[in-house]
């Protein structure tokens, strides 16, 4: 063993751990659960809520177990009368400044403070409420609502925004009893550097940060007989929605989800995976055009090209690297391609006036709500996507409809934009867009499938922060002979802190890659800000496994072999990057300020 070990006693049980392990983690080893609030395994230790206090025999003061390292010979009590009284008191203090309107709260029954207060039976009589009664909820953002009356100042959001995303849109401001979590100059959320990724939401223990909800508007549209309501769901929703209905993480619920959506009254239940396939065709071709310009025509062209599927990432680069927007693929995200196709191609095929179509997207994402409302996203002549719902909102809607999810039979997606390949499914996991793009690009360049077992490009998979793969192109078809013998490097990053490392290489002119996939959230979309709470590394891994299992179960594994994709190019779009594609499937970006 490389590290020294330490032996201590916790509640009478001997535990041996590596030096540097916290008392909290040591207790976990022997299945002793110590309550926490400000602690989150994704984040650095803060030690500010004090809920995790324990007693060390022989010491007068209690210790915060999340922040204190275990030391040799320690004798710890995690549930002594003193500890229990202190914890209850701490919780009562937190509750005394918390908005306890739990019945009307979006996080009701899924709130860490509520659970602890319930476990410890914290009553109202210990302290008077000192809740500030003049707090207003910031609803300025399309994506995120901020309600300070629910905030317990644990700073998980601040640490998330700093450590995972390196955005630092949220900071601790003011001091003493006026201390709060706020933005630059207390500006509203829609005026700041926030990327809308929603990671703060899934790390918030209460409902201080939630997604802005749109489901009442959707119910209204469903109930309106003049409206044709279409829903499309992203690959990551089907591997996480089950968690809202007591399934273990990693359960694939595609069929039940489709049935539920049909029962709720959506006129057509379609698959975002269809437009993910479409994205791959456009994006792979865009890359090949850029490579041809660089290698053959010797033109100045922005390489590496970077994916643009993740709206949190797109807003990040607009704020942080506004001089480098040329590297972004001009392709819209699958959600937005879906919207513009529904209100043109689908409307035409179905003979429905696009003004009567309401297009809803079920997404693992908070930023998708904002993306749907970007002024650029109206190329069909209408707002392409009318509303983006998170996986959590979909779960709530299914519950509101009184559907017993676990009992449902399994159905298939409807036709016209409901067919997809396994390549589209893997979009949900970090490395997935790269894998899907390589499956198609390699086939186009060489006329052969990618040289990996079962098309599984394993080097691009997994939770490693930055991944890369080198692919050598040999025996290329004549059109792409300029790539013959070239060893191209591809990079993958997830989480915006990692994205920043990739971008800094580009700024310095030292990027070794030709093509990069960046997803704003850790693990990719399966770890998105719209996914069920909690989301931890263990849960992310299970959702990722489910994504690859779903891919393996698909008869078609490459985007360009999806028959509906072939059909849409034959009858509507004609060619990739053609005039119609350019108008409907590609977009522009804008420079933004960095605060």
């Amino acid at each position: 063993m490389s590290k020294n070990t330490i032996t201590l006693i916790i509640d009478g049980t001997k535990v041996t751990v590596e030096e540097g392990t916290s008392i909290l983690d040591a207790a976990k080893k022997v299945d002793i659960e110590i309550p926490t609030l400000c602690h989150h395994e994704d984040l650095c230790v803060a030690g500010n809520c004090r809920v995790c206090v324990v007693e060390e025999k022989g010491k007068n003061n209690l210790t915060a177990s999340c922040a204190a390292p275990a030391t040799e010979g320690m004798d710890i009590l995690t549930s002594s009368p003193k500890v229990r009284r202190a914890r209850k008191d701490i919780m009562a203090l937190l509750v005394s400044e918390h908005n306890t309107q739990c019945t009307t709260c979006y996080r009701n029954t899924n709130c860490e403070l509520q659970t602890l207060a319930s476990d410890y039976n914290v009553d109202n009589d210990i302290y008077l409420s000192v809740l500030k009664n003049n707090t207003t909820i910031d609803k300025s953002s399309w994506s995120i609502e901020k309600d300070d009356s629910k905030c317990i100042r644990c700073q998980r959001c601040v640490r998330t925004c700093a450590e995972i995303q390196h955005v630092n849109a949220l900071a601790v401001t003011h001091k003493g009893h006026e201390m709060k979590i706020s933005t630059f100059m207390d500006f509203p959320m829609n005026e700041i550097v926030c990327t809308n990724c929603g990671q703060c939401i899934i790390h918030c223990p209460t409902a201080a940060l939630t997604e802005r909800r749109y489901y009442d508007d959707i119910w209204e549209a469903i109930d309106d007989p003049t409206k044709h309501v279409v829903v499309n769901t992203a690959p990551s929703v089907r591997v996480a929605l089950g968690e809202m209905f007591d399934y273990e993480p990693g359960k694939i619920v595609t069929g039940k989800m489709v049935t539920a959506l049909k029962k709720m009254g959506f006129d057509s239940v379609l698959d975002t995976d269809f437009s993910a396939d479409l994205t791959i065709i456009e994006e792979a071709n865009e890359l090949l055009v850029r490579l041809k310009k660089a290698f053959v025509d010797k033109e100045e062209v922005a390489l590496p090209m970077i994916t643009s599927c993740s709206p949190g990432w797109v807003k990040f680069i607009e704020h942080m690297y506004p001089e480098h927007l040329g590297h972004l693929s001009t392709c819209k995200s699958p959600q937005q391609m879906f919207g513009s196709m529904v209100k043109t191609y689908y409307a035409e095929k179905k003979g429905i006036d696009p003004k009567d179509i309401v297009c809803v997207a079920g997404m693992p994402c908070a930023a998708k709500k904002y993306e749907a409302n970007r002024p650029e996203m109206r190329d069909s002549g209408f707002q392409d996507i009318d509303a983006g719902l998170t996986t959590r909102e979909l779960g709530h809607m299914i519950k509101q409809a009184g559907i017993k999810f676990q009992e449902l039979p399994e159905e298939n997606f409807d036709k016209i934009m409901g067919e997809s390949s396994g390549a589209a499914v893997v979009f949900g996991a970090t490395g997935g867009v790269m894998e899907a793009a390589l499956r198609t690009a390699y086939a186009v360049i060489t006329g052969r499938p990618v040289p990996f077992d079962n098309l599984n490009i394993t080097p691009v998979r997994g939770m490693e922060s930055i991944k890369e793969i080198t692919i050598k192109f040999e025996d290329c078809v004549p059109e792409y002979s300029f790539l013959e013998g070239i060893e191209a490097k591809f990079g993958i990053a997830h989480g915006l802190t990692n994205a920043r490392a990739i971008m800094d290489q580009i700024v310095e002119g030292k990027s070794p890659y030709v093509f990069i996939e960046i997803m704003a959230c850790p693990g990719g979309c399966i770890g998105g800000g719209g996914q069920p709470i909690p989301t931890t590394d263990e849960i992310r891994k299970k959702r990722i496994e489910a994504i690859y299992a779903e891919d393996m179960g698909k008869p078609i594994r490459m985007s360009h072999e999806n028959p509906e994709i072939k059909e849409i190019y034959e009858s509507f779009l004609k060619v990739p990057l053609g005039e119609k594609s350019h108008h409907l499937l590609h977009t522009k970006y804008r420079k933004r300020k960095r605060y």
Binding site: N168, T173, H174, S182, F184, M185, R594, Y595
Partner: protein, 156 residues
Amino acid sequence: MVGTKELIKNLSVKHGIERKSLLPILQDIVEKENFLSNDSMIEVARILDISAAEVYGTASFFSFLDTEARGKYKIRVCKSITCDMKGKNETIKCIENILKIKVGETSKGGRFSLLETNCLGWCHKGPVMLVNDEVYTELTPEKIRETLSEYIREEK
């Protein structure tokens, strides 16, 4: 803004661009420019490669790092518990009456700003106030009138 940019550039040379340079840089900006404008905080954030929210977080923590324009004379009355018990409220009322401004406001013409501040370390001689860097202790209505009229006269 050109002046501010130049100033911050010079301060970053003087104090460095590490995280610990933030506070001295902000203090010097307030000294030179009276307060921290949004533009100056954004520029400091850019130079130190931290977020503007973080700069604001630091600025809002300290009473002396004003984030809005203040008058030529900043009157800061100690609001800590000792001064409070020794007549902070009466002190403030008296100043408000003389200058015709409330706490947080600046008089017309930008001469005086009335503010509260945390403990000034003069608990034994409360209530106290600061006018810019000058401390005035054991305040009574009479002493306040005398002190302020000197500043008022000086301005005319």
